[in-house]
């Protein structure tokens, strides 16, 4: 019996607690001993009822409310200048925050997956820290740093009077980078560990420089894991509410992201418009899930080749390929 694949720490945030890219994802064949049919039916009904009430109903409510005043109201709410500014800002923030975390994630995964060093377990825990912190606190720390009464805020203001960090784009980007910090690293670490570094070593022996090895060997190997991390990171970056709410100042047309715009409309009792804009975020979430599924499937089928380097028992769970022990 193999232990569950170590997922590189804990998740208290948006990511699934264990990586779905490596590990036993194939359906388990129904085993011989099983429950009487009435127990089975009762359990299935309980599970479906629970998910139906708690997941399907909220989704349906968003769509119902968004269209409650008709398509015209929906279209106006979504194309309103304030909504368009919010969409533009959200895209801009994600376009800055996601690549920053992508670069960090690749570097962290490279160091953690392929090397053993002192403090490695501590580093893994520290990377997960942002998931354990309340979004409100995630935003608040940047106010304490860069706010008008913050640690470095007054000094910065004295030197660059035009620079606004809090209640401006830089503050929103910082808070977003903080809350999405672990996503790419967490997905890449198990993938890189499962794949090993034999191809990289071969490339080095054949005379590739470090960067050539990275571009031509490592990046193609990890592409699905990377894409998976980016998808999750992007979903959270575009949807973050609490942390961004603290640092944004809610200035319409300037520091209003889509989730904040939804809140403003709701607080103005403009329900149909609030749900219309919220339905855009719902679309993003559904798109994220579909993309996630596709990548999971591709990672399992298309890119199984690097995993096959390890001798593989066809009956063994895929998690066998993941090193079971991570702490040094």
């Amino acid at each position: 019996m193999e232990p569950a694949a170590r997922d590189g720490g804990v998740a208290v945030g948006g990511a699934a607690p264990s990586s779905r890219l490596v590990g036993g994802a194939a359906a388990r064949p129904p085993s011989a001993p099983t429950e009487p049919p009435w127990v089975r039916r009762l359990l299935i009904a309980t599970a479906l009822g629970f998910l139906g009430l708690f997941v399907v109903v909220p989704i349906a409510v968003v769509l119902d409310q968004a269209l409650s005043q008709g398509l015209g109201v929906y279209r106006r709410a979504v194309t309103d200048p304030a909504a368009r500014d919010a969409i533009a800002l959200t895209l801009e923030v994600a376009a800055i925050a996601v690549p920053l975390n992508l670069m960090f994630g690749v570097a962290a995964a490279w160091a953690i997956a392929h090397f053993r060093f002192r403090g490695r377990a501590l580093l893994l825990t520290l990377i997960d820290l942002p998931f354990a912190v309340s979004p409100v606190i995630s935003g608040m720390v940047f106010v304490l740093l860069f706010g008008a009464h913050g640690l470095v805020g007054p000094t910065l203001r004295a030197h660059w009077p035009g620079l606004t960090i809090i209640f401006g784009l830089p503050g929103i980007v910082l808070a977003t980078v903080f809350v999405t910090f672990p996503f790419v690293a967490r997905e890449l670490i198990p993938v890189m560990e499962a794949q090993g570094a034999e191809e990289e070593e071969a490339a080095r022996v054949l005379g590739a420089s470090g960067w050539q090895m990275f571009w031509w060997v490592t990046l193609p190997k990890i592409r699905w894991g990377l894409l998976y991390g980016v998808i999750l990171c992007n979903a959270r970056a575009m949807g973050e509410f609490g942390a961004v709410s603290v640092v944004s100042g809610h200035i319409r047309g300037r520091t209003n992201t889509v989730p904040l715009h939804v809140e403003i409309l709701y607080n103005e009792y403009n329900y149909a418009a609030a749900f219309a804009v919220a339905s855009l975020l719902l679309g993003l979430a559904l798109l994220t899930l579909v993309a996630k599924r596709l990548v999971e499937r591709r990672a399992r089928l298309g890119d199984a080749a690097p995993l096959e380097l390890a001798p593989r028992d066809p009956d063994a769970p895929a998690a066998r390929l993941v090193p079971t022990e991570v702490s040094p």
């Binding site: 019996m1 208290v12 388990r28 979004p135 949807g239 509410f241 709701y266 609030a274 749900f275 769970p317």
Partner: protein
């Protein structure tokens, strides 16, 4: 897997250097600022701010509802994981995908949707109102929102373990004369308990810090339906940084304690996995 020392592959220095720099700039220095800021307060003032009646009421509400929601998720999440792994039924893969919705949906949208569904004129709230039950702006409403946000944790923790559990174990128990109920409670449940508890702790940690999905349904009345993250927000909006810092430090301490507990649980889960 072979252990490699630094030197076999290039880029260790660059990768680790970049990792540590970025980690410090984005995570460690900002969090340290919070701790540093709280030293300005002095012990007496910190204690007074962190244990004011309004703060204490918010802790009770936040921890109580998060605990209740995580418990519901522990029970129902285990059933969902069991059903998804063990039974074949029409639409199973769609149901499996639905479990991730609470992770993927922005919290503000979850909050609005749940509030609208439970409002007295909403789909579920309407039915409840007919029976004289109101959940919006109550503790029950907050708990329901937290059940939603924490739903995937237990399912996704238990699922992989249940998939890898070897059928021979249960067959052996059955052949040795155990009833199905005995097999499940004495063989299967102990094997998945550490993973289920990890999921429970993750859901609890998430619930304690949750803001977006709760504020819309909470009503936010001081002393009764005001969660701690919202109280921090209120303090910040009033430029009461001392008050916000004291509360944030308490929450941070609880989060770190939970993170530590989760790490222990996961270590236990791995050991248990090898022992079975």
């Amino acid at each position: 897997m072979a252990r490699r020392g630094p030197g076999a592959l290039p880029g260790f220095g660059l990768a680790l250097g970049w990792t540590l720099t970025w980690l410090s700039l984005i995570v460690l220095v900002p969090l340290a600022t919070l701790v540093w800021k709280s030293t300005d307060l002095g012990w007496g003032q910190f204690w007074a701010l962190a244990t004011s009646p309004r703060a204490l009421a918010s802790y009770r509400l936040t921890f109580g509802t998060a605990l209740a929601a995580a418990t519901v998720n522990l029970l129902l999440g285990t059933i969902v994981a069991w059903v998804l792994v063990r039974y074949r039924f029409w639409g199973r893969s769609v149901v499996d995908a639905l479990v991730d919705i609470p992770f993927a949906l922005p919290t503000a949208v979850s909050g609005l949707a749940i509030t609208a569904a439970l409002a007295p004129r909403g789909w579920i709230g309407g039915v409840l109102a007919d029976h004289g039950v109101r959940v919006v702006y109550t503790r029950a409403g907050i708990t329901i929102a937290l059940i939603f946000t924490g739903l995937p944790f237990v399912v996704r923790s238990v699922q992989p373990l249940l998939q890898q559990l070897e059928p021979e174990l249960e067959e052996a128990a059955t052949m040795l004369g155990a009833s199905r109920w005995q097999t499940v409670t004495r063989v299967v449940l102990p094997a998945i308990a550490p993973a289920a508890l990890t999921g429970f702790a993750l859901a609890l940690a998430r619930g304690i810090g949750e803001y977006g999905s709760v504020v819309f349904i909470a009503g936010n009345r001081p002393m009764s339906t005001e969660i701690t993250p919202l109280l921090i927000m209120t303090r910040l909006e009033n430029y009461d940084y001392a008050g916000a810092t004291a509360l944030a430090l308490v929450m941070l301490a609880v989060s770190f304690a939970l993170l530590f507990g989760i790490n222990l649980l996961q270590a236990w889960s791995r050991r248990r996995g090898t022992a079975v």
